[in-house]
């Protein structure tokens, strides 16, 4: 499976560096290494979800209890989480760090991913969620750190879109 191990490792190490200790996730192809790394790390608590919106509640609870967390999900999982993001994380000013695999962009071969890919950034904009893309390894460290910094200073959700050029090694 050509999911980039090197990029996944880089992202994971940056999450650790910014203090993330709980990761909630629902598996998707591009996230397999990140989820495995979270599971194998004794310093990390991985919460495997039935539906992504649960992760908003888990992160909100963890934040109020003083523990930093991140959500790993596909953009369709983000779309499935919108009410939780609005009426839990935004209403209660929770600094929510969301890492969203940006399926359905240029290069996407799976027809079923394409509608979600086309609306993800528009929905983020409509929700006034600050977001940036991670397209190359050069972006990862600084953008994760800056996203986390803004999430905490603004007490609001932020999103990083994990893009094909970073996550997928074409064969």
């Amino acid at each position: 499976m050509p999911v980039s191990t090197a990029s996944s490792k880089l992202i994971y190490e940056c999450l650790k560096d910014v203090g993330v200790r709980i990761v909630s996730a629902l598996p998707e192809t591009w996230l397999v290494h990140l989820i495995r790394m979270s599971e194998e790390d004794p310093e990390m608590t991985l919460v495997r979800l039935a539906k992504e919106e649960e992760g908003v509640g888990i992160s909100a609870g963890a934040h109020l209890a003083g523990v930093k967390s991140a959500m790993l999900m596909q953009n369709h999982g983000f779309l499935a989480s919108v009410n939780g993001i609005v009426s839990c994380a935004q209403l209660y000013r929770i600094p929510l760090l969301m890492l969203i695999s940006h399926r359905g962009e240029f290069g996407e071969r799976d027809p079923w991913q394409t509608e979600g890919g086309g609306v993800t950034e528009h929905v983020l904009d409509a929700l006034r969620i600050p977001h940036a893309t991670l397209e190359s390894p050069d972006h990862v460290g600084r953008r994760i750190q800056k996203a986390q910094t803004l999430a905490y200073s603004a007490s609001r959700p932020v999103a990083l879109l994990l893009c094909r050029d970073l996550m997928w090694e074409e064969t």
């Binding site: 310093e43 609870g61 934040h63 523990v67 839990c88 209660y92 000013r93």
Partner: protein, 195 residues
Amino acid sequence: MKRREALEAIYPMLDDCAVVTIMGAVAAELQSIGHRQNFFYLQHAMGLASSMGLGIALSRPELKVVVLDGDGSLLMNLGGLTTLARYRPRNLVHVVFDNESLLSVGGFPTATSTGSDLAAIAAAAGVPRTTTVHSREEFFAAFGLAKEMDDLSTVVAKVEAVGPSGYVTDLSLLENRYQFARYLRSVPTETAPRA
């Protein structure tokens, strides 16, 4: 049993717990009995009270966490029961007030009014201890046992579909949120938190 009576019965047992409630009647009634800094009222995001409880319970394993859920809310996040059971936080007590209706928005009947059994669903999801109670005395005993037990429990309390006349209180949402976070961070930990 009326939910307010059930809340009054367990109120003294909530003083050393982190309590997360759903919106509507549960939040308003608990506040009217007496707000405390260790109570958080999730005034929207239906379904996520149990997920918030899980997040707190995983972050602070030495602290007892009580979630006061409802049938309408839980039915919106049944998958969350499988996540709760999977991680089985031994410090979490999950109470579900089941009035078989969406009382706060007009009293429309939920699926528990036509036979869906939330305690059975929780048990089938893997929650190790589940029970359904119908009287104040039974609820008092079941909650006390669940709180003392070092394991995850779901206690479904069948209650009448009656509530307060209004739901808005003078406690602002953000005031409650910051107060509750301060409470959670001020409770001494025996073992260092994972932060």
